[in-house]
Symmetry: C2
């Protein structure tokens, strides 16, 4: 695949385009986003932050599991429901402290597999599942999980702080496997010792506490560059990215790689003087981070290789988040 083909494939990718219909919903919910006055962040974060006083904030997020994943492999769906929620909190530099789930089930075998995946996920990340709600008689299977984390008020990583001339860093654990059933799941946790998996979360907390980054987000369904675009849109900036500098496992092709949802993967922006410490901190926990480009004023994401440079996303024409900020 040449650069133009990769760009076209990423623009058409379901993980990116599926975000479109969020606009209508978010615009209405904005009216009740901060009615009590304690909500700190704007829309666009994976988790919201609530000021509870004493310098502490609670981060609060929720994620549902795609029906496709649920039907194909309930155990893995259960496991991933923990992974994606923990990553929402970890990416913001907070400590995940508890989860609840809502389970809708039409089949007991599926329920058992799901619960086993959930419990194994909780153990892997050391985050308790403290409650929830169970619909035993639906005509579909669904799993939703919500999570809370805790952090100091001025020590969280958000999507809103990327500034022009910041370095763009992609950080991914390259020691993993394409999941046997879902090649876009870059699984770096299931076969790995829980100690290192939990240390990866702590590393992000350290990075937040040391103020090493200006922005950050965990790589999720939109893939590495789709997630970066979401961060850029939240920060009202663009970026230039050199494809060849993105850390990649050599056994995976570029198209799969850029669409993958990694077990531990983040897009970050940082001042140049903090890049080295950031990269070293992540390296200690098996996450390979590299500077892949820089933040620019022009609200586009340019992707280049040795031969050319192409606009992958343009916030005027094909944004990913599409949040109406007015």
């Amino acid at each position: 695949m040449d650069l133009a083909e990769i760009v076209k494939s990423l623009q058409d990718f379901e993980g990116v385009s599926r975000k479109e219909s969020i606009e209508n919903i978010t615009n209405k919910l904005k009216n009740v986003y901060n009615i009590a006055g304690d909500t700190l962040l704007d829309f666009g974060e994976d988790a919201s932050a609530i000021d509870i006083g004493d310098g502490n904030i609670i981060l609060f997020a929720a994620d549902g599991i795609w029906g496709k994943l649920m039907d194909a492999d309930p155990y893995w769906a259960g496991y991933c429901s923990i992974l994606v929620n923990v990553n929402d909190i970890a990416a913001m530099g907070a400590k995940p402290i508890a989860m609840v789930n809502i389970l809708s089930i039409n089949n007991n075998d599926i329920a058992n597999d799901l619960i086993n995946g959930i419990t194994d996920g909780c153990k892997k990340f050391n985050v308790p599942m403290v409650g929830g709600h169970f619909h035993p008689d639906t005509d579909y299977n669904a799993l939703d999980v919500a999570i809370i984390g805790i952090a100091k008020k001025d020590k969280i990583i958000t999507s809103f702080g990327a500034e022009i001339n910041d370095k763009v860093i992609v950080a991914i654990d390259l020691d993993g496997r394409q999941h046997p059933k879902f090649k876009l799941n870059w699984d770096t946790t299931y076969l790995k010792d829980e100690k290192i998996v939990q240390d990866q979360i702590i590393a992000m907390k350290k990075i937040a506490e040391k103020n090493l980054v200006t922005g950050g987000k965990d790589i999720s369904n939109p893939g590495t560059l789709g997630t970066l675009e979401m961060l850029l849109e939240s920060s009202n900036v663009g970026a230039k990215v050199d494809l060849n500098k993105i850390p990649k496992n050599e056994n995976v092709n570029w198209d799969d790689w850029l669409k993958s949802y990694p077990g531990a993967g983040f897009v970050l922006t940082a001042k140049e003087e903090n890049v080295e410490e950031l990269i070293n901190l992540l390296k200690e926990v098996s996450i390979i981070a590299s500077v892949v480009g820089e933040v620019i004023n022009d609200k586009k994401l340019f992707l280049s290789d040795e031969n050319s440079e192409i606009v992958l996303f343009d916030q005027e024409k094909n944004p990913v988040l599409k949040i109406n900020k007015d």
Copy 2:
């Protein structure tokens, strides 16, 4: 209906029997309920409590909306998703601080009605909806909401503290209406000024802070006596209840009344010396509370009227919660 007919009807009530299949799920999830060591309460609460240090705890709960309600009236389903979650937190004497939602939608009209119900609910209770996740392409409609609240560590109302000889109190806002479409929704909030609705939540917080009750739970799908039975099971006790002492709106028949889900309704247990203050505090916010019986050692819920006494629930034979505590 005589007492025997009422008892039979309540024993067969879907709101009670639907709890049955929870057992299998909860037993497995118990393994990951407290893996990080900060989970304070046992299973059986509507919300779980996580110790965040400094004497503060975060309460965390989730509730899904029954598919039936969703299909029949999406606006009301959205509104109720807020009500039931807020009540889970309020019943424990905590301050609700934020919610997230997960929305699965196959139809845009339904989505709009739902969102309008959600935003109106948030405004009524003054609790923000700070985030969530949206599945735009499911083949079903579903709405799950999770909520967090905050309280002081030793100042929450739980289901575990009811003691033998405590008074059993039923507290319900009698100023309401059977919802036009759902007669078992005893709606006391929708037409009421938001000030009094929010004061009802604050009243429960005061009751918790003054240690006026030994146990408490908000009346939900299992109805007044089904909810009381859940509280009794969690506390490993039984109770004797006089039907005629239960506060009731005179326009509603007993069968509907006892199966209703009130907008503001609680079952409580308290020491005799605290009953008067408790009743007065609730009366100030339009909630009528009466002593309806007392807690006993025998693990049964006896219901009596002027003529007879019948066992409504027996924890050996027909419990509601069915949590395996071993």
